[in-house]
């Protein structure tokens, strides 16, 4: 397994089943997603013309994807002119090896990390640990998840499954004393624990929400201020950039930022929107001595041609997770350790290969709520439909399923055969609950009886 994304057939259902038994987690996920959804809707309502803004953002993203090679070259030139380095990594393995190498060269023992889904994707923490380097997450949600030894369950709210009580327990363990499950107490404890990490870290690792080709800037969007400390206190800054997250000009950021904050958290802007351009220059008071931008492909190039390229427009806001009925009942972990909800169900099979995530395109009722919620208008549920067709045409769908649908289509090809086959089905219906789909259905629901007289028999 070269990345942290793939998962075998059947895993989704098995994990989902466990989550469904956990009322505590379901309650937390339901509350968290509903709150975020309502916040987004209110924020969208506050815009003069949200549809026009969504169209514009879609266009900016798609244009950037069309011009990606040129933009990457321009970005590299701009970063290098400022004294930083850019390394394009084709695979997750290449990316994590490179980051480990940068850390080794810096003699790093402690790495402070700001929130980055790309780092989850390349399983950086495990690689650093294997190299004897301690990596600490400094985004509060990520820190909580790390203390629990788990993976983020939501791309914006990593600790969505945790309640205040859970957090008090986890932070209390570090403090060595029980903590009251109150917001201020917990925030103060986390701040104390993390402050030490900021001060001692040799390397700061961040993601990048966007990068600007013309200036070579990295754009970081955070709410907790940890991004500022991670990028200014340690001597070395490593920024992990998904290769598709480039925009041509600074001005192109404005509509994307307007939509990102509103869609993710309902804010007009997040507390901190940071533009970082190059390492520290002579005369500047802070900033890292070294800046390394790691551009991560890891399968994204597979998407650049054809229908799926629209998925590269994703700005990782989490809106689609918040409205998804299936996410709401599974809380993220069923989708795998990194990307979840509708965006994960589309992205993971595309970057990892359909055969390595065959359940995900079917982890949706195709209700379309995701498509309506996507600020950059990615037709998520239609892409899931396309992926399902690819599962069949690529021979990944089980043979028995393909045979069943082929036989069904032969029987329902003409009204005569349809009548004969459905009469036979009615006579055989008592057996339906014994196996296959009939059994899966009737475990929780009464099977609808086939009518003795079809509607067509009554005309």
């Amino acid at each position: 397994m070269s990345d942290g994304l793939a998962q075998p057939a059947g895993r989704f259902r098995a994990v989902a089943r466990e989550t469904l038994r956990d009322g505590h987690v379901l309650g937390a996920v339901d509350a968290g997603t509903a709150r975020s959804m309502h916040a987004r809707l209110a924020a969208w309502d506050g815009l003069p013309d949200v549809e026009a803004l969504r169209d514009r953002a879609h266009e900016i993203r798609m244009r950037a994807i069309d011009d990606l090679d040129a933009l990457l070259a321009q970005f590299r030139e701009a970063v290098e002119a400022r004294g930083g380095t850019v390394r394009v990594c084709r695979t997750a393995e290449e990316a994590r090896d490179y980051v480990v190498e940068v850390c080794r060269r810096a003699d790093a023992r402690l790495v402070a990390k700001s929130k980055s889904m790309a780092s989850e994707e390349i399983r950086l923490n495990e690689a650093l640990e294997a190299a004897g380097i301690r990596a600490v997450e400094t985004d509060l949600g990520e820190y909580i998840v790390q203390l629990a030894g788990e993976h983020p369950s939501h791309i914006i709210m990593p600790a969505i499954r945790k309640t205040a009580g859970d957090v008090a327990e986890l932070l209390g363990r570090v403090e060595g004393r029980p903590l009251a499950p109150e917001l201020e107490t917990l925030a103060a404890a986390a701040r104390r624990q993390l402050r030490e990490v900021f001060e001692r870290a040799d390397v700061g690792v961040t993601g990048a929400n966007f990068a600007v080709a013309e200036t070579g800037s990295i754009c970081l969007v955070t709410n907790e201020g940890n991004g500022g400390l991670v990028t200014s206190l340690p001597r070395v800054h490593v920024a992990l950039l998904g290769m598709e997250r480039l925009v041509p000009k600074l001005a192109d950021l404005a509509p994307l930022l307007e939509l990102l904050a509103r869609s993710a958290t309902g804010q007009k802007l997040t507390s901190y929107t940071r533009l970082l351009t190059g390492p520290r220059r002579p005369g500047e008071e802070d900033g890292p001595e070294e800046l390394h931008v790691v551009v991560i492909d890891n399968g994204r190039s597979n998407l650049r041609r054809g229908r799926y390229r629209e998925m590269l427009a994703c700005i990782r806001c989490g809106s689609c997770l918040n409205v998804c009925p299936v996410y709401r009942k599974t809380g993220g972990d069923a989708y795998g350790p990194v990307y979840s909800g509708p965006m994960g169900a589309v992205l993971v099979p595309l970057v990892s290969g359909l055969g390595r995530a065959p359940s995900l395109p079917h982890a949706s009722s195709l209700c379309g709520a995701c498509t309506d919620a996507c600020p950059v208008k990615i037709p998520l549920h239609e892409l899931l439909l396309e992926l399902r067709a690819d599962l069949v045409s690529g021979g990944v769908a089980p043979r028995r399923e393909r045979v069943a649908f082929a036989l069904w289509s032969l029987a329902w090809r003409t009204p005569l055969l349809y009548r004969l086959s459905t009469t036979a089905a009615r006579l055989g219906q008592p057996l339906a609950r014994l196996a296959g789909p009939g059994r899966a259905w009737s475990a929780g629901r009464a099977l609808p009886p086939l009518a003795r007289r079809r509607y067509r028999d009554r005309r």
Binding site: R13, L20, T330, A389, S409, R445, A446, P448, L450
Partner: protein
């Protein structure tokens, strides 16, 4: 008598309608007749192919759906008591089969558009209406069924999260049966205050009704049946 000829509509029963809820299709036919239409039933129809299409089996879907496109005339509207099948036929079928589009309508959208009156058979009933996802998000039909129910005398009890899917989703209901059923439970619980839960889609209907039969819950009724026959008082 050409001057007195009633306008023609072609009724598309849908496979679930034909096989599982034929009474609802008969009720749809009745409502259309009451509204002044001559209802024809093209006998060549079978299924729109959606079960296979949504599962990714496009050639199987094409084989079944091509029969449907031949069965119906392009000269009169096609009306079906299913938002989901109306979506399949209008949104996906022309491209899948490579045929001329059909003028297809979901039943309540059609009745509402033609200003039909469906009587007052729901006087005093407290009902919840469940939006099927395809009707809500692909056809953008959410007001017409509610208008018809209210015009028939019903009081609508709002569902707590009308935006949430009931969990049917075609083959999703058997691929992820546990999640599917959990979503049905939420939907049924949200309708606990209503005398019946009404939906315009046979798919949602058999799923929600099947679950309600196991766990107890409000009766689940097709929109056409609610309008044509009323809903029994509790």
């Amino acid at each position: 008598m050409p001057s007195r000829a009633r306008p023609v509509v072609q009724l598309f029963a849908t496979c679930l309608g034909d096989l599982v809820v034929p009474d609802a299709v008969a009720d749809a036919e009745l409502l259309l007749r009451e509204a002044g239409f001559d209802v024809v039933f093209p006998r060549g129809q079978v299924c729109c192919g959606q079960p296979a299409f949504n599962a990714g089996h496009r050639s199987a879907a094409r084989r079944v759906a091509s029969g449907l496109t031949r069965a119906f005339s392009r000269d009169a509207p096609v009306v079906c008591p299913s938002g989901s099948c109306a979506t399949m036929v209008s949104r996906y079928l022309p491209e899948l089969v490579g045929c001329a589009p059909l003028d297809v309508w979901e039943l309540s959208a059609f009745l509402d558009d033609r200003g039909a009156s469906c009587g007052r058979r729901l006087e005093g009933r407290r009902l919840a209406y469940h939006d099927s996802c395809h009707m809500l998000r692909e056809l953008r039909v959410s007001a017409p069924p509610r208008r018809l129910l209210e015009a028939a005398g019903a009081t609508l009890v709002p569902l707590p999260r009308p935006d949430l899917c009931c969990g049917f989703g075609g083959t999703f209901s058997v691929r992820q049966p546990e999640v599917s059923v959990a979503l049905a439970d939420d939907k049924l619980a949200g309708a606990a205050e209503a005398e019946a839960l009404v939906t315009a889609d046979p798919g949602c209907l058999v799923h929600l009704r099947g679950r309600a039969q196991r766990t107890g819950g409000p009766p689940v009724v097709h929109l056409a049946s609610a309008l044509a026959r009323g809903v029994a008082a509790p």
